[in-house]
Structure formats: C-alpha cells, structure tokens
Symmetry: C2
Subunit: 226 residues, 2 copies
DNA sequence: ATTTACATACCAACCGGTACGTATGTCATC
DNA sequence: GATGACATACGTACCGGTTGGTATGTAAAT
C-alpha cells in the first residue's frame, strides 16, 4: 500500500489534480471549450507538467472519462452490491443515489454524457470509451431487473436491457434539461416518474404512485453526497 | 409574396445557406468545435459575407437555434394541429413523427439539445433561448395531455407539465445515447416505452403493451421524412 | 431611357490573440 | 550521477473578427 516512492506519490497527486480540474471545466463548458491552459491553471500546475503526464489533450479527456466512470461505480456501489436486498429495492436505492447526486452544489451533470454529445462523431476513440462506460451502467441496471424477474412476476414480459437503456436515457436527458432550465427539480421529477415506470413493470397495484406527492411522502434514506 | 427585391432574395438565400451549414456542422461536432471558416466553406461563401449578415459567431448560433425550433414546429404540426382527433391519438401521432425522424440519413440529433448541453453555463444568452424552445415543445405535450384528461379518466392524477418534461428528457437522452452507441434503434425502443408509459397514465388495461413486440405489431402510419 | 448617386452583397487579405504542443532548463529524489 | 517531476519560454497554426475594395442591383433625377 505505502510502497509508493515520493516521486510516484507526487506524480499521482498531480495527475489527480489535473483530472479533477479537467472534469470540472468540462462539466462547466464542454470539452472543446476547455483549454489545457485552463486545466493547468485550475490544477495549479504548468503546461510543462501537463504534457509530462499526458501526451496530448485527448489523453486527459480519456483519463477524465475513465475517472468519472470509476467515480460512478463507487457512487452506486452501495446499491449494486447489496445482494441481500430485493433487487427492486436495489433499484430504488440506486434511484435514491441518483436523486441525492442532484443535490450537489454545482449543477448536476455528467462528464461522460457531455463528452458523448460533443465527440460522438468527431472523436471516435473517446466516443467508444464513453459508450463503454454507458453500457456498463446499463448492464448493472439490466442485471438487477433480471434478478427481480426471478422473484417478482412481471406484468408483461420485457427486455431488461431495453429498460436499462430507457433509464439511462432518462438520466442523461434529465441532467441536460435540468441544466439548461437551471431547475434541478426537473431531474428529481423525472427520476420519480422513472421509479413509477419501473415499479409498474412488476405490479399492477396502485402502491407505486405516479404522482410525486405519494412517492415523496415516505422519506428515503440519504446515501451519498458527491 | 414576390415583392422581394433581388438583393433581398439573394440575402435571404445566403443567410439560409449559412444557417443550414451551421446546423449541419453543429450537429456533427458541436458549437465550439465549428469555426466560422468551416461554416463559410460549407455554405460556399466567404468570411466577409458571413460577417455582413451576422455580427459574430454567436449570432449565427442564435439563428441556428431559432431555425431549428421553427423546423420542429413544422415537423410536429401535423400532430399538434389535428384538433379533430382524440388528444391521445395526437400524442401517438407525435411519437410516430419522432420515430420517423430517427430514420434519417445522418444520425438523429438535435441542434437545441446539443447547444443546451454545451452552452448551458458558458453562454447564458443562447442557453435561455434553447430553454425557451424546449419549453415550447413541452407545453405542446402538456396541452395535449390536459385535453386528454377531459376525455379519458387518468388512473391517477398527474401533472401534465411534469410528464411533458419527462417525455422531453427521454427524447433528448435517447438521441444522445443513440448517437454515441451508433444504434438509432435505441431511440425507437425508448420512444415505444415512453408510449407505453403515457398510455398507462389513462388506462389500467393491458391494451397498451409494454413489450415492443405488441406495440410494433400494429403498423402505424408513416408521417414525415425530414 | 440614361445617367447619376447610392446601397447592398460579397470578396481577399490581413490582424491580434490564443491554443496546442515543444524545447530546454532546474531541482529534488532515487 | 541518473532519473523523474516540474517550470519557463517559445513556435506554429489557426480562429474570430476587421478592413478596404468591387460588382451588382436599386432608385431618383434628368
């Protein structure tokens, strides 16, 4: 664990500072609009240091994407790794985490969604990396839904992956609209509707309210503050 | 109608060429990544001409957004203006139009969604313009849902605007994911799930299939090819 | 109808600033 | 002393925007 030499420590710290700076700037203004000078400035380092660690601008874009993916995995781990729970409860937990994520200081946004939008057609390499991380997320949802199918009887048969992509789209689209509208509540509203949609896949009873009022009445436990 | 002088005609044509060029480039690479040189090149004009018609780069961004909004209004008009129909049928028609829009040559994407993502925090002026157009779209959906409430009894009370924003998020998020994944089918899948969600707001019967198979069996009429 | 006077649309060349990337040097660490 | 982490200074290309000029169209005066 502590076998890292002083050089390695320093190097890792600087790289992390650069990545965090890049992520913050990308979230604020997008990838193309952020310059490596800005990244260096925000990280408190100089360009010499930057190009010592990263061959070019795309390299830190790559690193920023991977780091964001890892952060997400950490963020959702509480929901994804609780095999003791009912899978549907895990899905609910996941939605709670997503909702609590919107409560951050800066507007709720996703580096991967941002870069996907911007670079899908101009930077194939970064685009496929984004697609990979988005696919990982979706597969986690699909797995939970498949496990839920073993316990609860679906009202109608459905494809878990398709529903996973549906939820992912809602998530990304909500962050987009919540940002331009400057109304993070939009995200919460949409996630609650998504929760109702998911619940309705397994039960026809009216226990899963469609209106937000019913869903909000029972306070869910706060989980993470990223 | 034909009271336009030769100068006015030429001017309007050039402006349209510039706007179409800008939209195409923005869809492909985003706003920041597109240069006015590229726009001029694609439009077959020079920079002198460009800055004669538009004061600066943001000006054509503004024009591109408005033109895209107008295009959308034209695109959906068949669904939005058919007061004779059941409002829910109008919603279905709207979804059909959205699906047929994904079948275009170039990847299905939205100038307004793209610029919203990129400029939400860096270009407030363009951001509020995007938000305005997105709000227009949502209000059309909300209006249809409100009219539907007068005819059909909702299973549970719901807020039409909230559902409108939900559908808008699905639409934007789907285009985003469909683009990075290079799988436009993702968009169609999501829209079919949205269709099921909307139908389930008004009826508990199983007539509105959640699975895509049932929904796809009955062929819906093709509407527009943009 | 021609001429005159002017406005419009457009072009080619240029300018300041900036972005990415490099070349070289320095100092702590191994 | 060699290497790794970082800083300084610079080079090159390009981007948004300007400038001066031209050619065409328009409108009024003759």
């Amino acid at each position: 664990m502590s076998s890292a030499t002083r050089h390695e420590q320093r190097s890792a710290e600087s790289q992390e500072r650069l990545i965090l700076a890049a992520q913050a700037l990308i979230l604020r203004q997008g990838y193309c609009a952020t310059t490596v000078d800005q990244i260096c400035n925000e990280a408190g380092l100089t360009k010499g240091s930057f190009f010592h660690h990263y061959a070019n601008k795309d390299a830190i874009g790559h690193a920023a994407i991977d780091a964001w993916g890892a952060m997400g995995t950490r963020l959702y781990s509480a929901a994804w790794n609780d095999a003791a729970k009912d899978p549907l409860a895990q899905v609910d937990h996941m939605l709670d985490i997503m909702i609590s994520f919107t409560k951050g200081d800066e507007p709720c946004a996703c580096v991967i969604g941002m870069m996907s939008q911007e670079l899908a057609q101009s930077h194939p390499e970064l685009a496929v990396l984004c697609a990979k991380h988005l696919d990982d997320w979706t597969q986690h949802v699909a797995r939970l839904l498949n496990e839920a199918k073993k316990i609860h009887k679906p009202v109608k048969p459905f494809d878990s992956q398709r529903v996973g992509w549906f939820l992912n789209s809602i998530w990304q689209g909500s962050m987009l609209l919540g940002k331009v509208r400057q109304k993070p509540q939009t995200i919460v509203d949409n996630l609650e509707q998504a929760r109702a949609y998911l619940a309705a896949l397994f039960t026809t009873t009216a226990t899963s309210g469609i209106t937000r009022a019913t869903a909000a009445k029972k306070p869910r436990k706060k989980t993470v503050k990223p």
